[in-house]
């Protein structure tokens, strides 16, 4: 890489303690044009992708971050503990509803799920995956919820638009649900027994 700007950006992303947004990079490197910075970022993504090392430069939650490639998971967990626990089905369902329908009230989530969601919501709030957006201007002024930046970070999503569209989901329906579940059970690494951090049930 003979482009100094790319190296500088690489440095900044590498030392940042969370994903670094393009805006923030532009702010820090105000002697460069935004277009130059964007080109350098694209170049960096390419460089790391091509060299195919242990980590990649990825765009998540509106920012840039170096992340290890998923195939090396089993080696990494030999030395560090996994911090994120698997999410229960009710947590994922609730997250999905909030993600697609935000801003949304607790009553609306509960209507969709047909079940009380207080415990799940609180736990998602504590995990910072969901945040309070304010209060809805209707009688009773209920709180309204939305997903957080951490939600995008943890699930590796660039932004809310990169959520699978509900249309894609319908296409997936061609495969009966139970078959998909059996499929999941066949993969031993995917069945993780404990859910220590998220006691949703």
């Amino acid at each position: 890489m003979n482009n100094e700007l790319s190296s500088i950006i690489e440095c900044l992303v590498f030392t940042a303690d969370s994903a670094l947004s393009t805006d923030r990079i532009c702010e820090l490197l105000n002697e460069f044009e935004r277009s130059e910075i964007k080109a350098a970022l694209a170049e960096l993504v390419e460089i790391h992708h091509v060299r195919g090392g242990g980590f990649d430069l990825v765009e998540v939650a509106g920012g840039w971050q170096f992340r290890t490639r998923p195939i090396f998971q089993s080696y990494i967990t030999r030395q560090i503990k996994t911090k994120t626990s698997r999410f229960s089905q009710s947590a994922l369902e609730t997250l999905a509803i909030i993600a697609y329908r935000q801003p949304i009230t607790r009553a609306e989530v509960e209507h969709l799920r047909g079940v009380d969601c207080g415990g799940v919501l609180k736990s998602l709030l504590e995990k910072h995956l969901v945040r309070i957006l304010g209060k809805k201007d209707i009688p009773g002024r209920p709180l309204i919820y939305g997903t957080s930046k951490e939600f995008l970070e943890i699930f590796g999503l660039k932004d809310l638009k990169s959520l699978p569209t509900l249309k894609e989901i319908q296409a997936l329906d061609a495969v009966p649900l139970y078959e998909r579940q059996e499929e999941l059970q066949l993969e031993p690494e995917k069945v993780v027994p404990v859910e220590t951090d998220l006691p949703f049930e």
Partner: protein, 266 residues
């Protein structure tokens, strides 16, 4: 996952208690009545858009009965759905009133339920898709060691980063720590509290200089609201935060901030 596999097998279980947890684990696999309904529809190979209410209702009630037999608490949500199913079933059984014009014949009573099921299934599937992603801290990892220079004492010029929930939670934690009697108005219930009203007025006064009493109660013109607003104003007046004026005899009541903006002397 299924009732058949784990439920009926041990009907004569001598020490039900010991297996209680095991049961509840399997039964809880259904994240609510919608989830259970979807399961029953799949199991019976029914089309969501043309479900047999009779079959589904029977199996649904059997499931609830099973939960009760196992001494499991049946969540109210499951009972609400049971009522809905029975209601739909009974409406289907009602003879069609021949007197009525065929034009206005009622929509299929199942429609609302079908719509909810389809919608629920979408989000359930979306949840599965999201959950199948490589998660940070689980399948993928970012760098954890901070650059030595970055460990330097944080300065305070940067923007603040904090969530509303953290703020509320901090207050809640505090309340748990201190004896309840330190607070006189912790749980005002659903009714309006004077403190809330004071906050509201203070917040309005940040936006404009004069406020009319009527403006404060116009949204919600109830006896309680008027009284609480009035008490809040008296309190604010006592604290010398506002000045109150009234136009002629029975005219509007106006008030303006009476803030002495002084800096702390330290």
């Amino acid at each position: 996952m299924s009732i058949e596999a784990h439920g009926y097998r041990d009907e004569n279980l001598p020490l039900l208690d010991g297996f209680h947890e095991q049961y509840s684990v399997h039964l809880d696999k259904f994240d609510g009545p919608m989830d259970l309904l979807l399961h029953l529809i799949k199991k019976n190979e029914l089309d969501i858009c043309d479900i047999s209410i009779a079959v589904i209702t029977r199996q649904y009630l059997e499931y609830i009965k099973l939960m009760k037999d196992l001494n499991l608490e049946v969540a109210g949500d499951f009972l609400v759905m049971a009522a809905t199913l029975l209601q739909i079933k009974s409406r289907q059984l009602l003879p069609v009133d021949e007197q009525e014009e065929p034009e206005v014949d009622e929509a299929d009573p199942r429609n609302e339920l079908i719509r909810r099921l389809l919608e629920y299934q979408q989000y359930k599937d979306a949840g599965m898709l999201i959950g199948a992603r490589a998660l940070l801290g689980r399948e993928v990892f970012s760098r954890t060691v901070p650059e030595p220079e970055l460990v330097a004492p944080q300065n305070t010029e940067g923007p603040l980063e904090v969530t509303l929930f953290e703020l509320v939670d901090a207050f809640r934690a505090l309340l748990q720590r201190i004896p309840a009697e330190s607070f006189h108005d912790v749980a005002p219930g659903d009714s309006l509290s004077i403190a809330d009203c004071i906050n509201e007025i203070l917040s309005l006064l940040q936006e404009k200089d004069t406020i009319q009493f009527d403006e404060l109660v116009s949204d919600e013109f109830t006896r309680e609201r008027v009284i609480v607003t009035f008490l809040a104003l008296l309190e604010l007046c006592r604290l010398k935060l506002i000045k109150i004026f009234q136009g002629n005899g029975h005219g509007s009541i106006w008030f303006v901030p009476a803030v002495i903006a002084e800096l702390p002397a330290d």
